[in-house]
Amino acid sequence: MLTAKHTLVAMVTDKPGVLNRAASLFRRRGFNIDSITVGHSELPHVSRMTIVVVGTAAMVEQVRKQLEKLVDVIKVADVTGEGTIIRELALIKVKATPSTRGEIMQIVDIFRAKIIDVSTDSLVIEATGDEDKLSSLYNMLRGFGIKELARTGCVAMVRGGAKSAPIDKESLKDIQ
């Protein structure tokens, strides 16, 4: 069966332990998670999680339903597809000598990334983009010597006026 990368958006109540509950669920059911991020949403008391998971369509649907079964999880949507913007932020600390600095700066320019720190022997680069872009940037820089890499994991949003994981009005009423 075909496995593919899926991106799920989960709207959750901002109760303590909700990330732990989600993580525990993935571990115990043997779901392999690529990345999971959590942060505020536009709604008070509602946080938003983005989960990237690799699996067959049936397996990802299980992940979605099991996640939605958690009492603190209000809604989970699989937003995988053309109409979804996916972004991730990376900080990359790369070795840089006076002789390589120029070349690195050119690469950074091409990827529309930013240099945010310079020292005698290194540069810190900030880049945002989708997975592919960040991976190719990383690969381009590898030859210079990567000292550190930090990636945030993905956040996702569907294009256009619609919400990514709409919550019905009924549930919103209960959120205090």
Partner: protein, 563 residues
């Protein structure tokens, strides 16, 4: 008015209709117990071990459909509940477990008897709470009971620090739990119901498989109507036993590892399988790729995550069984399925599966059949886990709705005695038999003390084969009879009972079986029968682990295959 956390907890429990709780106290829950005398309507039964308390609460819940309540202190009290909570999780039993926790300032410092019980029970509860202030206690208790009892029932744990119990807060009982992330689907989708009806009306060889969901939903009448209208044979899962009367002409036993051969073979032959409130456990399906190979599958369940989890489903319907079947029945054509029914009858004739051999010694099957005859089936049967459990499920005839209470998903040895105790407390008018194994019985034997003190009239039948029999059977069949660590040296159970002032008889002769069961029935209060049975009797039919249902062994190593 301001009340203490303890008082709030008591008032909430009363509001939720709790009449009895099973528990053991300890340092951090003394404040709660200290308020109990102010609330005489809350009966507390002191158990001997918290695991016994949890299973008793389960027995109570399964006999009544109401939420069972157990209580334990922090640390070891809480961890002793874990098996019971896990059991309730696997079998969808409504349970509220209340644990004491060390006072808030001590949390996180590895205080005496501090344990992270919400962390431990995270994957085995429907939800759990650590109460962080007294003002939120009432809301949490209200939510806990709502969660435990609605949708797919399950256990909810509330961990309450000692100082939350002793502090005060304004008390107002919330009218209705409001949980934005919890909206169980009750009504089935009408177009799905119509699709299912169409598939049923077109089927030539339909088969109903009813699980515990049908019992939880109390869909007895609706299930019967569906079966009778379209003349559909009914089989059940182990936990679905007693959802449909077993003496009904359309009843064909139960399927799975030790189910009837004809039920398992029917699954292979049917062209439509209507799964009603069951979850395709591997003990039920056998090898999944060989399960119902010729059938479309309609799956009705209240838990959307069960749909498609283990088997492919053609028509899913998510919601409460009872209203769904009610709507479905309106669209079902009256049909006969004469050919299919006679095929089923032939399967049953050729593979009788549950005949009892005539023997000189006592065999377990005979004992169970006699309990059936003498009670005329009018009893709640509670079991331990092992061979005796399977024989009880096979040889007792379950006609009475919800009359078998057994640990299915977790297969918890030690479940029988405390669960029987809880069932009897819940239904004092009912006869309750605990059919237990000599191994299982010893895992919560201490509850004889509770049974004696509270005079809980449970009738206990120990199927004493001197072995951890089910494991011995596997060793015999699959490990060349190497009986490593399965032989038991049991104490004299009648003497043990006697030490608790519970009367009992050891039965060694076959002619004593019937009189002893009668004696147990006639004696008021609890009674223990210790049946010394054939030690190496095996449970058949048997689908070996990993085999398809059609590969059922009917007798020692004789493979059944028909057509």
């Amino acid at each position: 008015m301001k009340k203490t956390g303890s008082q709030i907890l008591c008032e909430c429990l009363i509001n939720e209709g709790v009449d009895v709780m099973f528990g053991i106290l300890g340092g951090v829950v003394i404040p709660f117990y200290d308020t109990l005398p102010q609330y005489p309507q809350l009966k507390h039964i002191l158990v001997a071990h918290e695991q016994g308390g949890a299973h008793a609460a389960e027995g109570y819940a399964r006999a009544t459909g109401k939420v069972g309540v157990c209580i334990a202190t922090s640390g070891p009290g809480a961890t002793n509940l874990v098996t019971g909570i896990a059991d309730a999780y696997m079998d969808s039993v409504p349970l509220v477990a209340i644990t004491g926790q060390v006072a808030r300032p001590l949390i996180g410092r590895d205080a005496f008897q501090e344990i992270d019980i919400t962390g431990i029970t995270l994957p085995i509860t429907k939800h759990n709470y650590l109460v962080t202030d007294t003002a939120s206690l009432a809301t949490i208790v209200n939510e806990a009971f709502y969660l435990a009892s609605t949708g797919r029932p399950g256990p909810v744990l509330i961990d309450i620090p000692k100082d939350v119990l002793t502090s005060t807060a304004e008390f107002n009982y919330p009218e209705k739990a409001s949980l934005p992330g919890y909206k169980p689907t009750v009504r089935g989708h009408s177009s799905q119901i119509s699709r299912a009806a169409k598939v049923i009306n077109e089927a030539k060889k339909p088969l109903i498989v009813a699980g515990r969901g049908a019992i939880i939903s109390q869909a007895y009448e609706e299930l019967k109507q569906l079966a009778e209208t379209a003349q559909i044979p009914v089989i059940t899962t182990l936990l679905g036993i007693s959802s449909f009367p077993e003496s009904h002409i359309l009843s064909y036993g139960w399927l799975g590892m030790h189910g009837m051969a004809y039920a398992n073979l029917a699954v292979e032959e049917c062209d439509l399988l209507i799964a009603v409130g069951m979850r395709f456990d591997d003990r039920v399906t056998g090898k999944i790729s060989g399960f119902a190979p010729n059938a479309k599958i309609i799956h009705i369940d209240i838990d959307p995550a069960e749909i498609g989890k283990n088997v492919r489903v053609d028509v899913p319907i998510v919601g409460d069984i009872k209203p769904i079947l009610k709507s479905l029945n309106k669209e079902i054509n009256k049909t006969e399925h004469l050919e299919w029914i006679s095929r089923m009858d032939l399967l049953r004739k050729e593979h009788p599966s549950i005949n009892i051999r005539d023997t000189e010694s006592i065999i377990p099957q005979y004992v169970i059949r006699q309990i059936y005859e003498i009670t005329r089936g009018d009893s709640i049967i509670v079991t331990g886990v092992g061979q005796h459990q399977m024989w009880a499920a096979q040889h007792f005839w379950f006609d009475k709705p919800n009359s078998l209470i057994t640990s299915g998903g977790l297969g918890t040895m030690g479940y029988g005695l405390p669960a029987a105790m809880g069932a009897k407390v819940a239904c004092p008018e009912e006869t309750v038999w605990c059919i237990d194994g000599d191994g299982s019985f010893q895992m919560n034997i201490q509850e004889l003390g509770t049974i004696a003190r509270e005079n809980i009239a449970v009738k206990i039948a120990i199927i004493n084969n001197g072995y951890l029999g089910m494991v011995r059977q596997w060793q015999e069949l699959f490990y060349e009879k190497r009986y490593v660590a399965t032989s038991l040296q049991c104490p004299d159970f009648v003497k043990v009972a006697d030490a608790y002032n519970i009367p009992g008889i050891t039965v060694k002769d076959k002619i004593e079986v019937i009189p002893s069961i009668k004696k147990a029935m006639e004696t008021e209060g609890p009674f223990l029968l210790n049946f010394i049975v054939e030690p190496e009797e095996n449970v058949y039919p048997m689908v070996p682990a990993g085999a398809a249902l059609s590969e059922v062994l009917e007798e020692p190593l004789k493979k059944v295959r028909c057509k």
